[in-house]
Symmetry: none
Subunit: 191 residues, 4 copies
């Protein structure tokens, strides 16, 4: 399952972090989960900090990539966001630990300021672009792009958490239709 040592360690680390937290998970534990000796970790990562950052970055990149699927072909901010919500939900349900890892990282005072939606993330940039374009076309409510972005993230998180406990809804088109309406109702500029 693990292509190489590095990935093998990163996956073990993500598991450990999810279960015990960034501080709670020890290097010993991670090494054991990865099936390597403790010293081996330091062949691939400078230190625990580096391991955490790289574990986060792996999750974040995969998340972003999954979210992006098919987005370019869609016209309009609202439809793009609707599609994006489906993308992230499907990916998140299949990779719950990676979602959790992103959250842990972002909520740690050591690594981040506690926002879900942060300027330096890749998501910020793509979402921000969508929002600015939508605002320009008069498609979205006249609110600052960052607020629109953060709001979209908030709704997304809600839907995702709901799906975690009701995964069967993932294929329920009625459910998605209502979600689409929520997003549209929330963000679309009324005529």
């Amino acid at each position: 399952m693990a292509a190489d040592r590095r990935t093998q360690i990163l996956e073990a680390a993500i598991d450990a972090f999810c279960e015990q937290g960034l501080d709670g998970a020890g290097m010993d534990d991670i090494a054991q989960r990865a099936g390597v000796a403790k010293g081996t970790l330091y062949l691939y990562f400078e230190n625990k900090d580096d391991l955490i950052r790289q574990a986060y970055w792996l999750c974040h990149q995969q998340d972003v990539e999954a979210c992006q699927a098919g987005l370019d072909a869609i016209e309009g901010a609202i439809p793009k966001l609707q599609r994006r919500l489906r993308n992230v939900s499907a990916w998140g349900l299949a990779n719950p630990k990676k979602i959790r890892m992103e959250m842990l990282y972002k909520s740690s005072p050591k690594y981040s300021k506690g926002r879900r939606y942060q300027t330096q993330t890749l998501q910020y940039q793509t979402i921000d672009k969508i929002m600015r374009d939508g605002l320009e076309r008069g498609e979205l409510r006249r609110l600052p792009a960052p607020l629109l972005g953060e709001t979209f993230f908030g709704i997304g998180a809600a839907v995702f958490y709901y799906l975690c406990e009701n995964p069967e809804k993932l294929d329920d088109e009625d459910f998605w239709h209502t979600c689409d309406e929520m997003i549209a109702g929330c963000l679309r500029q009324p005529p």
Copy 2:
């Protein structure tokens, strides 16, 4: 300012946790901030875990109480939620550390499952009630109450984060009007 020793310690602890994280903040640091000896902490709290839980609980209770202000007098789920958003925003801006403490606690795998909106919280119960009532009256989108609740939380968090960086909007009625529309557009069942 601190009524008694216990509160004095709790407030120092909240400060420390916000700045350095639940694991990052040491009992030494907390004691120093509180102006008491390290041993004294253990007279008021069983251990660090207990201190964290009580610090969280203090913040959570005050949060809930502040959110509740004036809600009983309001008729209708949507208006209630709109008011609630103003309540939590105003309180949160005045008590950013307490909001942060709640987040830290909820995002720690040791104490919580990582949800913002959790069954055991007091908010869950009040919001859930509002949602159930609203659904019964056909006021809200036909979605499960927990999803509606989580969605409301998501929008609330977005608005709050935005206000943190643009606090002058707190008194901007136009801003709030748009927020009200976002909430309504998102949650109200269209005719």
Copy 3:
């Protein structure tokens, strides 16, 4: 024997360093010798480096003080040096570990450049003074003061090592008479 905790630890550390070297002696070992817990060491010393430096400094200061006894009352560079040699020998025989600790410190590339006789030591300054005065009065060979100083140190070390294995000579006035002659023959400017 140990006045306070700090001294108690320093003495244990000196013992350990002498037996196992600065790097070879572990903090665990030092703590055990001192009869305290490992953590206690860090209440009195910032880190191992600090402990080493302070252990050295303690030895160095006592060494210097012992060497100085009665020197002020003596007139002339040669007699002063002769007396000094007796002083350091007597003190060194009674405190062999402290002498060794000084050597270990000075010979460690981490802490020093490897000279026995170093500018920053207290001995350097007092000996240098004696040499300069002696040169001024034409009492000593016309050589640079540092070379005279280093030479005196070299002879001193030789005598000390010899005494370590023949401690009974410490009270042998004939022995000291010959030592005095060695020093004089070596350093005094012939007429």
Copy 4:
């Protein structure tokens, strides 16, 4: 420059030990300096200890050999010692790292008792021979041969250190004349 792998490694090791100390220098560092893989070290040396001992021994042998040059042709203990001092000084200035390596080894509690002049060294034997012969002929002060030897070493070290910082003196015949007088004044039995 390095005849074979073994020498190449030994020279790299000596460099590393001089700069970082016997404990401070890692096998990694030595391998890198020698331009070989870490594992290769263990083909030529049993372990780090063995490497240290052999590195020391190499330096020691070369030192002894250099000191011996032209000594057999000289009659009399004092002239021999004077010549020897010039030999070791010239060699030491040209091979400062080898001198340093010898010192590091001798001052390490793990390998030695901390004496400059030690029974098991090759120097001990040749110097001891000179001293015994000189004593027999009444040429030297009536002191035990080991003390005379150690004293000579002490003066030698002083001269060498001085030359390190004033290398131009190496060719200054006046300087050497005074050194010769120091040695003679120190060790020769007065009539």
